[in-house]
């Protein structure tokens, strides 16, 4: 059974067809990359998976570890083990980083039937994970994403991923706004979480990120459908010939 199964997903926004039958199977231990030009439906796909209001499927189905997500709100999907790393992480003025992480982690633990972490145990765990992502203590004391640089925001996203230990992580253009050094830190963070039990879907414009997070499969999304799937070499083909060649061929 696939860990994430997208079957024939159709979605409209403002009466415009955005997803026109996306199907994708992601198994445990796999990393998939979804590439596509601007406007191909990549971000819509990630919002749809995460369960954002207004991004409900018109037709089709999504299964996470065999369970349908269609009736689940965003928070329930997250507690069930789906994680979305945002392209533009949202600022939460007044919400401290540490208490935000604790709220998120304890929501997931409660769902899994695990005991909620007390304050001290949590702080210890958070600091340990944070240091791996080069997230300083001082950053955890600040309000979530407020005044963070592009790199800090993305590092904080991956820190959340490492603490929530999701079954499936969707990384929406995690490379955008990152310089080479930051890209390496973020990618190392993601790679360190690859294991046989989880799966990662990387959504990106560019092949560059895939040098660091090497996918098992690459899919090309265009006009809301996957027009081609292949191995990592497909990403190199995009880099060389652009999307237009592939789209025309399809």
């Amino acid at each position: 059974m696939s860990l994430l199964e997208i079957k024939n997903a159709h979605l409209k926004l403002d009466n415009k067809n955005i997803l026109n039958g996306v199907s994708l199977s992601v198994n445990k231990g796999e990393v998939h990359a979804i590439m596509g030009p601007n406007g191909s439906g990549k971000s819509t796909l990630s919002y749809m998976l995460a369960g954002r209001d207004g991004y409900e499927l018109e037709d089709g189905e999504i299964l996470l570890d065999g369970k349908s997500l269609s009736e689940m709100e965003a928070d329930e999907r997250a507690r069930s083990g789906l994680f979305l790393a945002f392209q533009y992480p949202v600022e939460l003025p007044g919400v401290g980083g540490m208490s935000f992480l604790r709220e998120a982690v304890n929501s997931r633990r409660k769902f899994l039937g695990e005991k909620e972490l007390d304050h001290l145990a949590f702080v210890k765990e958070a600091r340990k994970e944070a240091s791996k992502m080069f997230v300083k203590d001082e950053m955890l004391k600040r309000a979530v994403n407020v005044g963070f640089s592009g790199g800090e925001k993305k590092r904080f996203e991956i820190l959340q991923m490492s603490m929530l230990k999701p079954k499936v992580s969707i990384l929406d253009e995690t490379d955008s706004g990152l310089d080479v050094d930051a890209l390496k830190i973020v990618s190392d963070g993601v790679n360190s979480q690859r294991n046989k039990e989880n799966a990662i879907v990387v959504i990106t414009h560019y092949q560059r990120l895939l040098d660091y997070i090497v996918p098992d499969f690459v899919h090309i999304l265009s006009d809301g459908v996957i027009i081609k799937s292949g191995g990592p070499e497909l990403a190199l083909e995009v880099e060389k010939n652009g999307y237009s060649g592939l789209i025309n061929a399809a």
């Binding site: 995460a50 369960g51 709220e103």
Partner: protein, 420 residues
Amino acid sequence: MQHSLKDDYANCVKNYTNQFKENSFRKIACNDFKSWPGPREETWRLSRLGTLSRKKIKPITPNLQKKINGKSKHIGSKIIKFVDGAYRGDLSSEMPLGVNLSSLNDSESLEYLQKLKKSNLNHHPSTNVSLSCTPSIMKLTVKKNVKVKDFFEIIYEGGEESQSVHPVLYVELEENSSLYLIERFNHFSTLAMPLQLTEIRNKASLNSIKIFNDNKETYNLSAHCVHLSEESNLNSFSLIKGGMFTRSETHAYLNGCGSKLSLNGIYISGNNQHHDLTTAIYHDVPDCTSKQIVRGVLGGKSTGVFQGKVRVAQDAQRTDGQQMSRAILISENANANAKPELEIYADDVICAHGATVGELDDDQLFYLNSRGVPMDKAREILIKAFLEDMINQSVDNSLHDFVFKEAELALSSIIIKETL
């Protein structure tokens, strides 16, 4: 001839002052109160007193033996109590060295009245009625060069149904002095009309917190006039959460060069509450700064009003005046009104203002949801953060927790109601 009920209260006030001499400050004040301001008066258009004017109320005769068993713990180390609007020495702390608290005599009271009459609070009902009916005007003085370390806490309580209370205070910070003052309004009367004049002399500094938490049936029409002299500083924060109808009106006159004012406020309103924060800041001389952040959270069928006027006189060059108000509606039936007003006659100034009214931000809610936080909890987190963020900016570190808990108490009752 039939008198309208509206005049009844004016008559009661007049009768009350009959016991005093003809030329007393009370009579002068009383003559200037004919009736409640009507909806045609621009500053009362959004906060109408129709219901109040139909109530049968008369000025209270303070019971000087009355003791109130307050539920809340004191936060200050020096306590000053007003019960039924009257200062109660038996329930108040001894004043430390360098601080004086006493009542004004008749001629001083007349001077007090004249100072208010020169301000734009001259027609405010609390100016005229409270000066007519107050048991006495109390003056708190911090002597020159005295930096008071104790937190002063003034508690206004007592009052009875169908009666009005009239605490009147004069606070003077002499040159180069400083004070931290917390005022808590916990009245039980139908009407409370606290009046205050504050004068902050050269290089003096006042930190002020006001918490309006009167009984749920109470109308509170607070009026406060502040004068800031050269290089003086007022850092003021108000939390309005109680009462049926609370209007806190403050007029601040920056009339010494280099003075700095921060006039922040939060209102948290639920049920049928009406909360109004009205301020006027007058930049009359150059090189002064005023900053104002106002935030409101409204549930139930409540109404919030923010009226903020900033006037920069022609000579007040290099003024820096910033004002920002934001209200969040958490119920469809709540209402928020914001009326920022800038009047600028000088040309070399930085002035900015912004006012927004809206709901919680969808992106922020989704971000929290996407981390597994359920919607109700996400809303609660964002509302608390919205207020905490501002409390942290406005209030001394050592009082963050106290003020935030006061806000949280009010929030929890309106949030719970909205999610049921």
